[in-house]
Structures are given as C-alpha cells and as structure tokens.
C-alpha cells in the first residue's frame, strides 16, 4: 500500500497543493492576492469566458449527436459489427491526441485543406480554423465518441419491459418518451454533458497545435505564462490560472457525481 500512496502523494497531491498554495504567493513567497486579482483582468477573464463558451458549445453538440449515435448502437445487436466497431472507434477517438487531430483538421478545412480546395477553390478563409468556432468543430470530433462511451451504459440500462408495459397500459410512443425514457435518462445525460464540458475545458494539446500564436483560451494562457513567467517577473500568475481552471473543473465534476448518484440506482 505504501508505495502507492507515496507515489501518488508525490506526483499528484503535492503538485495540486503547489498550484493551490502558490497561487497565493508572490515572487518572494509572501502571501498575496495579487495573482488572483490578476485573473480578473479583462483579457484573462475573456480567455476564461472563451474557454467556457467553446467547452459548452462543443459539449452540447457532442452530447446530442453522441446520444443519437449511442441510441443507434444500443438498439442494435449487442455482439454485432456495428456495436463493436463504434465502441472501439469511440475508445480510440475519444483519446485522439491533440496534435494529430489538429493536423487532420488542417488537412480537411485548413487553408490548403481537402474540403476547402474542393468547395471554395484554392484560396479561402485561412484562419477560420483557428477561430473559436473552428475550435468547437475540432473538439466535437472527440466529444461525440466520449459521449458514446459514457452514455451507452445508461442506454443499456433501459429495459424493454418498460416500453412494453407502457404500451399495454395504453401509452403511445410519445407517452413512453415523455413519461418514462426522458425522465430516467435526464440525469445520466446531464452528467455526461458535464463530463464533456470538463473534458473540453481541460484540453490543451489540440488548441496548442492549432493556435501557435496567441492565447484565446485559458489553457493556452498558461502556456504563455509558462514561457514568460521568468521574463516578466509575474512569477505565480501561471499558478493562479491553473487554480482558476481547477476550480471550474472541480465544480463541474462535483455536479456530475451528484447527478450520477441519483440516476445510477434506476438503471442498474
């Protein structure tokens, strides 16, 4: 047991604590709120807001399309080709490393991309991909598979007897969805949505590979702070940013586990 706790202690707990505590220290290691108040600076607040926006939109799109795909898979043969392929593809694509994904999209809708040259001719809006909307599109690529992975178990928990019972009691398909399926699936769906949000919010690599200059979202701000920390003497602003991110993600994950507790009983 000891090795485990020791390892985790050193490499996980302490860094976390470092982030939390150092956010409140200045260059000379004296307590200060200066770093945290820097977070309220308009341009930093904007990056946080951008992060939230991108995460939220990609989460919603990913959740809806992913739920649809999961539904298609769940209603099919449990050992069939469709299910196996989609499940394993989801497993891979949800982990799709940022760099390779970024390049795939550059190859598709970037300035010299396949789609761009097909549809719009040789020269087209070269920076669309680097905008927030472009980021949303790219993020959706791994959000949908993640949704399938997370939501499919919930769909599997829906018993066919519930539908049949509704019918024998005189209900239509609409009645079933409205009174049975939707109420039961709401909590798992929202939980999955939150997970998708946290996932997008924490994502670094994809954005870093796409957006080599500038830092429109929070994780990239940390990149800036990291490389310029020593230069500009704002020692711990990076840590304050990190703290900000942790707080957002922690809130989201706590909500998620509260929702999970509620819904898991019904779908066992």
């Amino acid at each position: 047991m000891l090795p485990f706790f020791a390892y985790v202690g050193i490499f996980l707990i302490i860094p976390t604590l470092v982030v939390v505590i150092a956010a409140f220290l200045d260059g000379a290691n004296r307590p200060t709120l200066a770093n945290v108040s820097e977070l309220a600076e308009p341009y930093i607040a904007k990056t946080f807001w951008n992060s939230i926006w991108v995460s939220a939109v990609s989460a919603v799109i990913g959740a809806v399309l992913g739920a649809l795909l999961a539904y298609v898979v769940a209603t099919g043969d449990p050992d069939g080709l469709v299910r196996t392929t989609v499940s394993s593809a989801s497993g891979v694509l949800a982990q799709f490393g940022g760099v390779t994904l970024a390049f795939a999209f550059i190859a598709s809708v970037g300035p010299a991309g396949l789609l761009t040259t097909w549809i719009l001719g040789a020269e087209a809006a070269p920076t669309w991909l680097l905008s927030l909307k472009g980021l949303v599109l790219v993020y959706t690529y791994f959000q949908i598979p993640l949704m399938v992975l997370v939501f499919l178990p919930a769909l599997d928990g829906i018993r066919p007897q519930w539908r049949e019972a509704t019918e024998t009691l005189g209900g239509t398909a609409w009645d079933y969805w409205r009174h049975v399926a939707v109420p039961i699936l709401t909590a798992p769906f929202l939980g999955a949505l939150l997970l998708l949000f946290a996932n997008a919010f924490s994502a670094y690599a994809t954005a870093a590979a796409l957006i080599t200059q500038g830092a429109p979202i929070a994780p990239l701000q940390i990149r800036t702070a990291f490389s310029s920390e020593v230069l500009l003497g704002r020692e711990n602003i990076g840590k304050a940013l990190a703290l900000g991110m942790v707080i957002v993600v922690a809130i989201v994950m706590t909500l998620n586990s509260m929702l999970q507790k509620r819904s898991s009983r019904w779908l066992r």
């Binding site: 049949e164 019918e167 024998t168 005189g170 019904w266």
Partner: protein
C-alpha cells in the same frame, strides 16, 4: 365481490390458427385456443414451446404471421397494443424505476387523462386489493420481488382491462413467495372475474390455479382441459411426462394391452404397434403391498423419502429396474428401507412410448 372493485365481467377471447415464425424457426404453428369469459387458462410447456409467443401475440407486442385474435367478438389482430385494453404482468423488471408504487399504478389512468382525485382513489384501492398499502410510496428498488409483482398486478388491473395477461410472473421469485403469490393472483382474478391467460413452465403452478390447462409443445397445443383431467388422463406421452412425475417401466405391447410388472393393463392408444415399449406410470398408481400378499411382483425397498403427508419409496423390482411409489407416510412406515414387498400397478389405461 366483482361489484366492489367495479370490474366488468369477463369477455371471450379466441386465438384462431395463430402462426408466427422467426426466420427458419416456427414459434407458433396454427394455435387454436378459446378462453371463456372469466376463466383463467394456463399455458404450460418447456421453453421454446411458443407459450410466451402466444401471449405476446394476444397482447399485440408481436405481429402474427397468420391467423386471428378475436376479443369479445372483435377482430383485433391488426390493432396496436396500446388500443387493445389488456393488462399485462411481465416476468420481472417491469415497474418504472423512477416512480413510486402509487405512481406506477396511476400511470395507466394518467394516460387516460383521469383527474387526480379519481386516480389517487383507484390506485389506493388496487394496492389494497393486492395487500400493499404500506408500500404505496416506495420505489421499485426498495421492494422485494414479490412486492414488485404485486404492484405490477395492481397497475395492470387499475385500468379495468378486458383481459389479463401474465407472462411467467412468478418465475423470478423464491419458492415460498411463489406459492403465496400464486394464490393471491388467483384470488384477485376470481374476485374481479376477468378473463386471464397465464403462461408458465412450472406445472405445479398451472395445475394449482387454472380453470383449464393447455400443454404446449413446438408451437402447438398438445392437450387442453381442466387440471385434474390433464394430470390423471394425459393424452400423449409428452403431456404425461411434462405434468407430474412418471415411472418409465419396460413393457411389452400386444393386442391393445401392455404387459408390465407381470400385469396386463389396457392402453390409452390401442393402435400402438406391438413389441417392446416403455410404460408411463405415476408413482401414486403403484401399490405397495406386504411381502406375503397374494398378488404383485416381489421387490425390495431401496430408499424412502419423507415429504410430509406423503412419502416416496424407491423400489428395486429385479428386471424392470427402479420404481418410485407414492403412498401416505403412515403406510410407508410399514415398509422401511431394506424390507421386501410386493408391487402392483393400478389397472387404469396406460400410456406407452417407444423405447429410446
């Protein structure tokens, strides 16, 4: 009692020439069955015999490939499930997990847009009918299997259906709960007077509660009749073997009679070809006499099983192998293990099967 619960009296249900195939497999092969108003018919058979398919066709949960379903004189074969007005109790898992017992029972009424006060009253009535008033605000995961099935029954009856369908409702429950609940179901069914189709693979259940039992095999009805008749006078070897216990004894068929254990007994099917065969004889048809009686063959008692009021003796009858006899415990005590006895078979018409 039927007026108290406000149910109408039962209707006639006819299944005519029902046919259902799944690809190469024929689940139902021309089933004909009529349920008289208010009666409980049990469909009994091994898995795959088509009994559940028949029930689901009646409910409309599957489409028939041929034949008709007629309820109260109306052809409902093409009518969708939610318009058939039938109450159904499933084997398990059918309660809505996100609703309390009360809400589950009220569900059908809610769909019919009954107002809150009437729904509430009806739900409470039904839950009282099945003895679950104390659980009225509990959820499914807080109740035992038996309790859940009672709620399912209340839910099915709350809408005052014309027919009640039960798909192996007791199969997922413990033995003791099963016996209790099966009597409850019968009590409620009789009180309400609703025509009911009960599907099960447990012959004891079917015999205990049904007005008539239909034994099914491979998509067809082998025999249909009151429980006593199906038990005492099985018409085919399959029915004889599926319902109740049987001894299979070596016999010789000759001239419409079988010679078994030294006796000549008439056959049920007199056209059975002569030669070697196996006779199916119930344990209670085997008479055990004392050693010095003047009839029967000699045998030794190998073992004795005490089953309460009755006991079963395993007897070694020399060439014919082992025979199980059933008799009252008082009589069984006179022939302990190891003692010598004489064995005789009741001369009722007997069923035979080919030697396999």
């Amino acid at each position: 009692m039927s007026s108290v619960t406000g149910q109408r009296s039962g209707v006639e249900v006819r299944l005519e020439e029902l046919r259902r195939t799944y690809g190469a497999v024929t689940a139902l092969d021309g089933l004909d069955l009529t349920l008289h108003p208010g009666e409980l018919v049990a469909l009994l058979g091994p898995s795959g015999c088509g009994k559940t398919t028949a029930l689901r066709l009646l409910a409309g949960l599957e489409d028939a490939d041929g034949g008709r379903v007629v309820v109260a004189g109306l052809d409902v074969t093409r009518v969708p499930t939610n318009k058939r007005d039938m109450g159904m109790v499933f084997q398990a898992y059918s309660l809505f997990p996100h609703m309390t017992a009360r809400q589950n029972v009220e569900f059908g009424l809610r769909l019919r847009k009954q107002d809150g006060a009437r729904r509430k009253k009806r739900a409470e009535e039904m839950l009282e009918l099945v003895g679950l008033t104390a659980q009225i605000d509990r959820y499914a995961h807080q109740m035992s299997g038996g309790q859940q099935q009672r709620v399912a029954l209340a839910r099915a009856l709350a809408i005052q259906p014309t027919v009640l369908l039960l798909d192996e409702p007791l199969s997922a429950l413990d033995a003791k709960v099963r016996a209790q609940l099966r009597d409850e179901i019968r009590r409620v069914q009789l009180g309400v007077g609703i025509t009911t189709l009960f599907v099960t693979h447990d012959q004891e259940e079917a015999l205990a509660i049904a007005d008539r039992v239909g034994v099914m095999r491979a998509g067809r009805l082998e025999q249909l009749g009151p429980p006593t008749e199906v038990y005492a006078h099985p018409q085919t070897p399959f029915v004889a073997e599926f319902v109740g216990l049987n001894n299979k004894l070596a016999a010789t068929v000759d001239d419409g009679e079988a010679e078994v254990l030294g006796q000549r007994i008439p056959l049920v099917d007199k056209s059975f070809r002569p030669g070697a065969a196996m006779a199916l004889i119930r344990p209670e048809a085997v008479k055990v006499l004392s050693e010095d009686a003047d009839e029967g063959v000699v045998a030794t008692v190998l073992a004795s099983s005490f089953l309460g009021a009755i006991s079963r003796l395993t007897l070694d009858v020399g060439g014919a192998g082992h025979v199980i006899a059933q008799l009252s415990t008082a009589d069984a005590l006179e022939h302990p293990a190891g003692s010598a006895v004489r064995v005789r078979v009741r001369p009722d018409p007997v069923l035979v099967t080919p030697v396999d």
